[in-house]
């Protein structure tokens, strides 16, 4: 009997650990802004925003995304993946006359993806595409 009660309490604790209250999600983040920006962003040594944004679109197409929205002036591209059902929003902004910062935010199953590996995979794919843009394969 005791064991059953302990089991039920443990399950409830795990369940509440998984699901935060509704209002908590409006701001909801358990990582620091610096930590998140760190793994979600990469610097590129170019000031060619158009080249980088076009490479972002091309990479997203390579990864099976359909583009939902794109705005060159503000530097955003967002899309939905038809391979893993995630959504991705990319921002591209220049920080000086020689460098750009690309930042990715990914969601999957109503959760923010907080695994740095997913982001480093994306940037690795983007780097390949930037190389391909410069040395086009046809």
């Amino acid at each position: 009997m005791n064991k059953t009660i302990i089991f039920m309490i443990s399950t409830i604790i795990f369940l509440t650990g998984c699901f935060a209250s509704n209002s908590a999600h409006v701001i909801g983040s358990n990582q620091s802004q610096v930590e998140m920006r760190n793994y979600q962003s990469r610097k590129f040594d170019t000031n060619d925003k158009k080249l980088v944004m076009r490479a972002v679109v091309s990479t997203m197409q390579d990864l099976g995304f359909i583009i939902n929205q794109a705005d060159y002036n503000i530097g955003t591209v967002s899309g939905s993946s038809f391979t893993n059902m995630s959504t991705l929003t990319i921002t591209v902004r220049d920080i000086n006359s020689k460098q750009l910062i690309v930042r990715a935010i990914a969601q999957h199953n109503r959760n923010l993806i907080q695994d740095p590996k997913a982001y480093s995979n994306f940037f690795e794919s983007l780097s390949k595409s930037l190389f391909l843009e410069a040395h086009e394969i046809e």
Binding site: F14, S58, F82, N121, E133
Partner: protein, 173 residues
């Protein structure tokens, strides 16, 4: 003892639900260059805007609603809603359910998505047009599945129609 095992099992399931691994997300697979080639066609033109204009016309020919366009990035996206499944699938599902029990499940509708992107060729004098199609297919029991459309004949037919559209648009038709 059995309860302890059960507890560990359930705890593991919940922990897994909380901490799903995304380590394989956004990695390029081995076929991406092949797909890129299938989805891309070169057009000999210096005018990207005219190319995008002809592309929008062909998407309209195919019944797509344009949902986003950005000429700076050469992007056009569109969607259309259509019926899904066919009589054979429906009859099969109904017979299957009658024989083996359960509810017959068959497709009823689909939303088709298209993304078209133009980019200046680095090796030739002209533009590459890359297009990709994907669908969300809904069934009669309220669930859905997503599918990338990878059939080569779809892309071949699309580019034939686009070539035709380039000609028609250039002649103000």
């Amino acid at each position: 003892m059995r309860k302890t095992y059960l507890f560990i099992l359930i705890t593991t399931i919940f922990l897994n639900a909380c901490t799903m691994s995304y380590g394989n997300f956004y990695k390029l697979d081995s076929q991406y260059l092949e797909r890129r080639q299938l989805e891309t066609k070169f057009f000999e033109t210096n005018d990207e805007l005219k190319m995008l204009d002809a592309s929008i016309q062909v998407l309209q020919d195919l019944g797509y609603n344009i949902s986003e366009s950005n000429t700076n990035l050469g992007i056009i996206t569109g969607t259309k809603d259509r019926e899904a499944g066919n009589i054979g699938q429906k009859v099969g599902a109904i017979f299957g359910a009658a024989l083996f029990g359960g509810t017959p499940v068959y497709d009823i509708s689909q939303t088709i998505f298209v993304t078209l992107v133009s980019s200046k060729s680095n090796t030739k004098n002209g533009y590459n047009i890359r297009v990709e199609f994907a669908t969300i297919i809904y069934n009669n029991v309220g669930s859905y599945r997503v599918e990338r459309r990878l059939e080569p004949e779809i892309y071949k037919e699309f580019f034939e129609k686009l070539s035709q559209s380039v000609f028609l648009t250039a002649n103000d038709i």
